[in-house]
């Protein structure tokens, strides 16, 4: 290499390094002048939250929930999705005594039939969404609380936790469900609800019709015979209105109700 080449190399290195140094110095100065004081706990808590921004806690994002926790507007166990581990981490970050995590919920579709099994009042040929089907004469099923099977719930689920094939009853994958509640709002028949995650046995029917009527249009609908209430060894089942309710605190999953139910409405999920 001759002297001229060396000069070019040296000047270019010096020039770039100089520009870089000036820019870096300027940025350091700017970040000092425009520094925003952020509570370090917000970042720490935001990291321990699941980060799926599901909105089940009522805040638009996990970061917003973290801000609310630090500001004292929300309890450290506000995140249902995170469960015990997240609550523990958040309590540690906040420096408060550990509190019990909120009970986790999961969404359940309280219908065991869907359009495959339920008798139809008429042939529906409109827009293929549950909302539109419900608007057309109150739904094409004889049952007023039967799943219409167009998967509005699956379409809104942000976690792909609802498997759906057209014309069939959608299935909620319990491992993926975060209880964000979007499907509950989307269902025009209001047959999806949140149940405690520890509950394993469900009465899959939401009808308000009388038993004799239900028998005519649905093979798996609850006819209100009360056998499950009588036979449950834990006395965990009570009648509330037309449908038996299972108390998850008492249920020991003996599966007696599943065996005695004449219409096989009660199922373990």
């Amino acid at each position: 290499m001759n002297a001229a080449q060396i000069t070019i190399v040296v000047t270019s290195v010096l020039a770039l390094a100089g520009i870089g140094f000036l820019a870096g110095f300027g940025l350091a100065l700017a970040s000092h002048i425009f520094s925003v004081k952020v509570d370090p706990r917000i970042e720490q808590i935001a990291e321990s939250l699941p980060g799926s921004n599901c909105g089940a806690c009522g805040y638009p994002s996990c970061f917003a929930a973290a801000e609310a926790i630090v500001a004292g507007k929300a309890e450290p166990n506000v995140c249902k999705l995170g469960g015990e581990q997240t609550t523990k981490l958040v309590c540690n970050a906040m420096g408060v005594k550990e509190i019990a995590a909120q009970e986790k919920d999961l969404a359940v579709i309280a219908c065991g039939a869907g359009p495959e099994i339920c008798n139809k009042r008429f042939e529906y040929q409109g827009e293929k969404t549950c909302a539109a089907a419900e608007l057309s004469g109150g739904g094409f099923l004889e049952c007023s609380a039967g799943c219409l099977g167009y998967g509005d719930c699956a379409a809104v689920c942000p976690f792909d936790a609802i498997v759906y094939e057209e014309g069939k009853l959608p299935k909620i994958i319990r491992e993926k469900c975060t209880a964000c509640g979007k499907c509950i709002d989307a269902c025009p028949r209001k047959i999806i609800s949140l149940k405690p995650a520890k509950q394993k046995v469900f009465v899959l029917c939401s009808t308000t019709d009388k038993g004799a009527q239900v028998r005519k249009y649905c093979k798996v609908g609850c006819i209100g015979c009360r056998i499950c209430v009588k036979k449950c060894p834990e006395a965990a089942i009570t009648m509330e209105g037309r449908i038996p309710q299972i108390n998850p605190d008492k249920c020991k999953v003996t599966e007696v109700c599943i065996q005695v139910c004449p219409t096989k409405t009660i199922k373990k999920l």
């Binding site: 070019i8 020039a15 770039l16 520009i19 820019a23 700017a30 425009f34």
Partner: protein
């Protein structure tokens, strides 16, 4: 003096309308599609780009004239300019974070992405190629930013209305946006021949 001011006026009209960065030069398309779904966010993005473009024109002109050209380091132009642009974007981010955290959230990832927006590097390099004076370069940078904002705002306005229009299913989302952008570009072609510098 009057001639100088007239030239500056022509540069502004040229950079805003005739040589609009997005619709005529096709630079900086990414934020044009990415941030143009709401008028508020696109206005914020546009103003951030105006700031970065003006500052980049100013600083890169100084660097080119006083460092690169005298020392014969023209080959370092790209890397030196990228360095400047990246630092300026970082600066903008710091300032926006202080002034309006809400704006920062609505801009999201597109704010740091101004760094890789070729429109900024484009305006810096075009300033040098056109042999602009210092003032002309800064005015051109400012005008280009305004042109960028104008295109972004027009697009956002159209897209807000498109959301409520019955668009065929196959064209929903990105396809109809691209078609709209193409039609806007054709419309802006009408400005060619408006002025000659």
């Amino acid at each position: 003096m009057a001639g100088e001011i007239q030239t500056l006026g022509l540069i502004i009209i040229s950079s805003v309308l005739v040589n609009n960065f997005i619709l005529i030069r096709f630079l900086g398309i990414c934020p044009f599609i990415g941030v143009s779904s709401q008028v508020d966010a696109s206005l914020g993005m546009g103003l951030a780009v105006v700031f970065v473009m003006t500052m980049a024109s100013l600083v890169t002109w100084i660097i080119q004239t006083f460092i690169l050209t005298p020392f014969g380091l023209g080959f370092l132009q790209t890397i030196a300019f990228i360095l400047i642009v990246a630092s300026l974007v970082q600066l903008t981010e710091i300032v926006i974070n202080k002034v309006s955290p809400t704006l920062k959230q609505s801009l999201g990832i597109y704010l740091p992405l101004i760094t890789t927006n070729c429109a900024i590097l484009g305006v810096a390099i075009l300033n040098i190629r056109a042999n602009y004076t210092f003032i002309q370069a800064v005015v051109n940078g400012f005008g280009s930013g305004i042109g960028f904002t104008l295109a972004l705002l027009l697009m956002a306005g159209i897209r807000e209305r498109l959301d409520l229009s019955p668009v065929p299913k196959a064209l929903k989302g990105a396809p109809i946006t691209f078609i709209t952008a193409a039609l806007m570009s054709i419309a802006f072609l009408g400005f060619i021949g408006l002025i000659k510098i």
